[in-house]
């Protein structure tokens, strides 16, 4: 070690070729914080996430105040905020949100009531899979939006038409995802259940269901997010109320600020539902957090 500085000073080329200096640099590079799958301090994570939102708001505010485009097309954050307060005060926002919330709850519940048992069935019985999986897989690729005209012809523009659209957009995905969740239950859990003398129903209810419950809960959480899309599509086409309806009416009167309020409300509601489901899931399935290998 003590020889190192001497080598540097006696070497006439040392000044021209900074070879020894390259060493500490290389070491420092290896110690850098960002690498693939690297860890991150939760506080830094949080700050970056907040900064991203602030940057988004800032960009919006900047674009609107620099008058890149007319205020008519891009209202300022301030205007949207005021509009949101107005809409909240006169009850418009509350009514619209409530109508949408009601629709998505009912539509999603209907979809889940069918998707869950059918998904479990085709995930466990090969014969059920053979009968149901191929057609479901086929229908899944038909865009739900394309069913809008048909749904109106069949059901008119009432509430049931909204449920149908949410159902078409959600159910077929749910079935396949739940099937996959159930298939991932380790075979040994099932086998050991049979050696305890359990029959099919017992194994299904007491082993397959609890073992796949955390994954199924995740599936519900993800498909609920998608259901929001179909709800808004349904409301945009024809609805007497709801957030989608609010957005559509606003478009007719060029109230871009109202459109923004509607879109942001949908985003926030989706986020709130997603996060609360995550929280509930973490509480319900505490055992799954440290999954065994």
């Amino acid at each position: 070690m003590p020889e190192l500085p001497e080598t540097v000073s006696t070497n006439p080329a040392a000044g021209a070729v900074p070879a020894p200096a390259a060493r500490p640099v290389a070491r420092a590079r290896r110690r850098r914080r960002v690498r693939l799958y690297g860890p991150l301090d939760p506080r830094i994570y949080f700050s970056v996430a907040v900064a991203a939102f602030v940057a988004m708001l800032l960009a919006w505010w900047l674009a609107s105040s620099l008058n890149v485009t007319s205020d008519l097309f891009l209202p300022s954050p301030g205007r949207v905020w005021h509009r949101a307060i107005e809409l909240a005060r006169d009850g418009t926002l509350e009514n619209a949100t409530w109508a949408s919330f009601r629709r998505i709850s009912i539509g999603f519940l209907i979809s889940t009531a069918f998707g869950l048992p059918i998904g479990i069935l085709i995930g466990t019985y090969r014969i059920a899979e053979a009968a149901i999986e191929p057609p479901v897989d086929f229908i899944r690729y038909m865009p739900a939006v394309a069913f809008v005209p048909l749904s109106i012809v069949w059901l008119g523009v009432g509430e049931s038409q909204k449920y149908m659209l949410i159902f078409i957009g959600t159910f077929f995905q749910q079935v396949l995802m739940v099937m996959d969740n159930v298939k991932r239950v380790p075979r040994e859990y099932v086998d050991i259940g049979y050696t305890f003398g359990l029959r099919d129903v017992g194994v299904l209810l007491r082993i397959v269901l609890p073992a796949s419950a955390p994954a199924i809960w995740d599936t519900l959480r993800i498909t609920l997010g998608w259901a929001w899309t179909w709800l808004v599509v349904a409301e945009l086409v024809a609805a007497p109320n709801g957030l989608g309806h609010m957005i559509l009416t606003a478009q007719r009167y060029f109230e871009t600020d109202t459109i923004f309020v509607g879109i942001l409300t949908i985003g926030l509601l989706g986020l709130a539902m997603d996060q609360s489901m995550k929280l509930i899931g973490a509480r319900l399935f505490r055992w799954a957090e440290t999954r065994q290998g």
Binding site: F196, A211, A288
Partner: protein
């Protein structure tokens, strides 16, 4: 005969290719015998155990318990797998109680489960979840669970295969102690020859694909057995004999034999 494996054939046929895993495997276990099936990996020993458990269907042949052919899995045959099969959503206590639901009331269930956890020295972990236990502890609970409902035959498929060498030896000693105290008919599967000799009254060697019983030797080592046995000359003699027999099979499958 407690357990009879009578001319078992098992062919796995996936449509393109048929693999013969068992080709007329035949042997009997008498009551309270500890027998171990050894062979190279893929020789069909685990398949045989799965068929005996009723979890795989035989292509031909029969498995008989007390002279009666089995009809699928049942509580007369308990099973311990190599992979961890404790249910991660239940506590250790509830995992054992799970196996007891069919025949015991609530209070009785709790007591029997406790007793069996004590048997494997884990009563103080009753309220832990499986994910909080080490691999060796999980297998001890799995053994306690399999013993708790008193099956007539215990089938063990490389139960210590996933454990480190030190833990494995402790588990072997624990199992020997348990067996010596409580006696039970056990069919054990392993590829570890030391383990086979140490635990068993009898070791059966399987030929490699198609699986048949090639060698069947009684292990006349004194009981109770302790870990010193591993280095005794008699032990090493058995080991050498079995090693040669298994090695012959490995050479055949690996294509070394001319």
């Amino acid at each position: 005969m407690k357990l009879s494996i009578a001319g078992l054939h098992k062919v796995f046929d996936d449509g393109d290719r048929a693999v013969v895993a068992l080709d007329g495997a035949t042997f009997d276990l008498v009551e309270n015998e500890f027998a171990t099936l050894i062979g190279t990996s893929g020789c069909g020993k685990s398949t045989l155990l799965m068929v005996a458990a009723g979890l795989e269907e035989e292509t031909a042949g029969q498995v008989l318990v007390n002279g009666r052919p089995i009809a699928g899995p049942g509580r007369d045959r308990g099973m311990v797998f190599q992979t961890y099969t404790l249910f991660p959503w239940l506590t250790v206590q509830k995992n054992v109680e799970f196996a007891l639901r069919a025949e015991f009331g609530k209070g009785e269930r709790r007591r029997v489960a406790r007793d069996h956890l004590a048997l494997v020295g884990l009563e103080q972990f009753a309220n832990a979840y499986p994910s909080q236990l080490s691999g060796g502890m999980r297998q001890r609970v799995a053994i306690a669970r399999a013993l708790s409902y008193r099956p007539e035959i215990l089938l063990m498929d490389e139960p210590f295969g996933a454990l480190d060498a030190q833990t494995r030896q402790l588990m072997q000693e624990l199992l020997t102690r348990l067996w010596e105290q409580h006696r039970l008919t056990v069919l054990f599967v392993t590829h570890d020859i030391d383990e086979a000799v140490f635990l068993s009254d009898r070791v059966l060697v399987m030929t490699n694909r198609p699986g048949r019983i090639k060698l069947d030797i009684p292990i006349a080592l004194e009981r109770p057995r302790h870990f010193e046995l591993f280095s005794s000359p008699e032990f090493l003699e058995y080991k050498a004999q079995l090693l040669a027999s298994v090695r012959e099979e490995s050479l055949k499958t690996a294509g070394f034999a001319a």
